[in-house]
């Protein structure tokens, strides 16, 4: 097959109303390109209702591709009402041609061409319908998880405490180092940025207000939520997705283990317990980060910082931040699990849905945060 020296050749002779096609050389995958273009040219000029004799006795080697090529053009000639005769086929060539004979017919179905603008609109419409369906199924997922929660509350013995504790460890305790590092750095960043501006006004001491309120109310919850969405949201999707591919979820259903009670709720509840605690932890570390920089950059001693913090940081800011965490956790866990169940039976979809899950999780967290800001401001809290 690697031999390219013996190309497929077609010789065309015309006598009155009949043609003689003499095929020569090897007709296989690697040698037929030139013969293809020759046949194509010929099919454009051939007169209708002519007689055609195709002599293939000199073909040395005929493989599937060669046979399909020959048959494809014979079909085209026949559509032009030509009489086609194949002569000189060896018994082996005849076998191949006979097998492909009925398999090449009608293969050239041309789909109608449409204006590209219409295609664009069709795509947009298609996407819109898909995203509406997606939203509806997410809502129904939330509904189902809520009804399973009611079942949990009515039958406390069915709560999977072990799974919840294990998930708190995975999603909460193990995430503490990275949460500590990021929130410390956020405290540092805010302190540095604030210090430059506040020094202009000689209002150094207000750095405490800036750090205290911004970290506890907004930054720590958001940063923690983003870390958790990236860490746990993605792992929920991947875990459940793999379980779906390996049919573990189907197995659970046949044993009447409700996947919501066994997989979704333990993760959701665990995250809703762990997240507020992590946010409080992030508050402490973030403020410490700010304190550290204030001491270095503005000569504001730790004692002064702490005293000022006691006066300006109302407890409500911490409560608001921590409470938001419960909602963030709910959204992240819900999206993570929901996308996991959407994974279909191929390897590519795991990656795709894990990405979607993280992107959705972070988006929902920020949208929810914006909603909180609006509502709390309107309420004057």
């Amino acid at each position: 097959m690697g031999d390219h020296t013996n190309k497929a050749v077609v010789l065309i002779e015309k006598k009155d109303n009949s043609y003689l096609l003499t095929c020569d050389g090897e007709w296989n995958l690697n040698t037929i390109t030139e013969a293809t273009s020759k046949l194509k040219e010929f099919s454009l000029v051939i007169e209708v209702k002519s007689n055609l004799t195709c002599d293939i006795s000199s073909i040395e080697e005929l493989d599937s591709a060669g046979a399909i090529l020959l048959l494809e053009y014979i079909n085209i000639f026949e559509e032009k009402n030509c009489m086609v005769n194949i002569v000189g086929a060896s018994s082996e060539q005849d076998k191949i041609l006979t097998m492909y004979r009925d398999k090449v017919k009608n293969s050239s179905v041309v789909s109608p061409k449409r204006h590209s603008l219409i295609n664009q609109f069709e795509k947009i419409g298609h996407k819109t319908i898909l995203s509406i369906r997606d939203m509806v199924s997410f809502l129904s997922f939330l509904g189902e998880s809520f009804s399973s929660l009611v079942h949990y509350i009515l039958h406390p013995s069915s709560i999977r405490f072990n799974a919840i504790v294990k998930n708190i460890e995975d999603a909460g305790v193990r995430a503490l180092p990275i949460v500590a590092l990021t929130s410390f750095l956020i405290g540092v960043v805010v302190a540095y940025q604030g210090a430059v501006q506040l020094e202009k006004f000689g209002a150094n001491i207000f750095i405490v207000d800036l750090i205290g309120i911004s970290v506890t109310r907004e930054l720590a919850p958001l940063i923690t939520a983003i870390v958790v969405a990236g860490r746990s949201g993605s792992s929920y999707t991947a875990q459940i997705g793999v379980m779906k591919i390996t049919e573990e979820i189907d197995a659970m259903k046949t044993m009447s283990f409700n996947p919501f009670r066994f997989l979704v709720l333990p993760r959701m509840i665990a995250l809703m317990i762990a997240m507020p605690l992590m946010i409080f932890f992030a508050d402490v570390v973030g403020i410490f980060g700010g304190m550290f920089i204030s001491e270095i950059q503005m000569n504001l001693s730790y004692t002064e910082f702490a005293l000022r913090l006691q006066n300006v940081l109302e407890l409500k800011h911490i409560w608001i931040g921590v409470t938001k965490g419960v909602f963030f956790a709910w959204l992240i866990a819900a999206v993570g699990c929901f996308r996991g169940f959407q994974v279909s039976y191929n390897t590519e979809s795991i990656g795709r849905y894990t990405t979607i899950s993280v992107v959705n999780g972070i988006f929902l967290v920020i949208a929810c945060d914006a909603l909180f800001s609006v509502v709390l401001t309107e309420l004057g809290i």
Partner: protein, 267 residues
């Protein structure tokens, strides 16, 4: 490339007919000895079965033939090339001359059936897109899949369709050798019989050599020309069905005279 009338194999005298030759193969996974100086030769155009119980090393043997595994020592010649000592380019050329059907199909899950079948044609030939599509459509029909299967993704196929689609993929380049790893596993008896018949028919028309690893006694009865039985790290019997049945080796007896085998031999 066309099928050569099978001549009787008499040692080194008729080498031109031998497609695959394995000599003195020793394979070891850690402490576990799989093949102990094993010899094997497969003739052009035949359907050759590799039999043996689980863990007897028949899939390993197949993997060694297709360069997925290397034996610890020995010599393997495929289509006249010593595959344990090949340059990258030679290896690539050789790989284009065989097709492999994996046990689970191993279709690329991100490509649909038509793309799966056409992938080697697109990568390795300079044929036009339209003509590749024509070939792919013909191959889809050839293996008995319905036309609409072209657009389906592997996840949407039934077990039998997966086997047929991967057979079409393995045959896309008109290989000289077709390797089948348990082609009928996971198929119902009717589907398995149809699949066996398909392989037999295609072999008769296209003239390739088939090497199949199988557990399926029906396949042995219906399609396999010659086969070998692996056991005790060696080949304990080789030949046509009648020749193997004459062997008195206890493993052969277990294989063919057990409940499943004996039912068939009465028929």
């Amino acid at each position: 490339m066309r099928r050569v009338i099978l001549g009787s194999f008499n040692g080194a005298g008729n080498l031109s007919n031998i497609v695959i030759e394995m000599e003195d193969i020793v394979t070891r996974f850690g402490e576990n000895l799989v093949h102990d100086h094993l010899n094997l030769s497969i003739k052009e155009g035949e359907i050759y079965g590799l039999l043996g119980g689980s863990g007897s090393g028949k899939s390993t043997l197949l993997k060694e033939m297709i360069m997925l595994l290397r034996p610890e020592s020995g010599r393997i010649r495929v289509l006249g090339k010593d595959i344990l000592d090949l340059s990258t380019i030679e290896a690539e050329a050789l790989r284009k001359q065989w097709g492999v059907l994996f046990q689970s199909g191993a279709l690329y899950s991100s490509l649909n059936v038509a793309e799966n079948i056409g992938i080697t044609l697109r990568e390795y030939t300079d044929l036009s897109k339209d003509f590749i599509n024509t070939i792919v459509k013909a191959k889809i029909k050839m293996v008995g899949l319905p036309d609409y299967a072209a657009k389906l993704y592997p996840a949407e196929l039934s077990g039998g369709m997966v086997k047929r689609a991967s057979l079409a993929r393995a045959l896309a380049m008109d290989p000289k050798i077709l390797f089948l790893d348990e082609p009928t596993s996971g198929l119902d008896p009717i589907g398995a019989e149809e699949f066996d018949k398909l392989i037999l028919d295609l072999r008769n028309i296209l003239g390739f050599t088939v090497i199949m690893v199988t557990h399926d006694l029906d396949s042995i009865w219906n399609v396999v020309d010659r086969f070998c039985v692996l056991g005790d790290h060696k080949i304990i019997a080789e030949g046509t069905l009648n020749e193997v049945m004459k062997s008195n080796h206890p493993i052969i007896a277990k294989f063919f005279k057990g409940a499943r085998g004996s039912v068939r031999s009465k028929v």
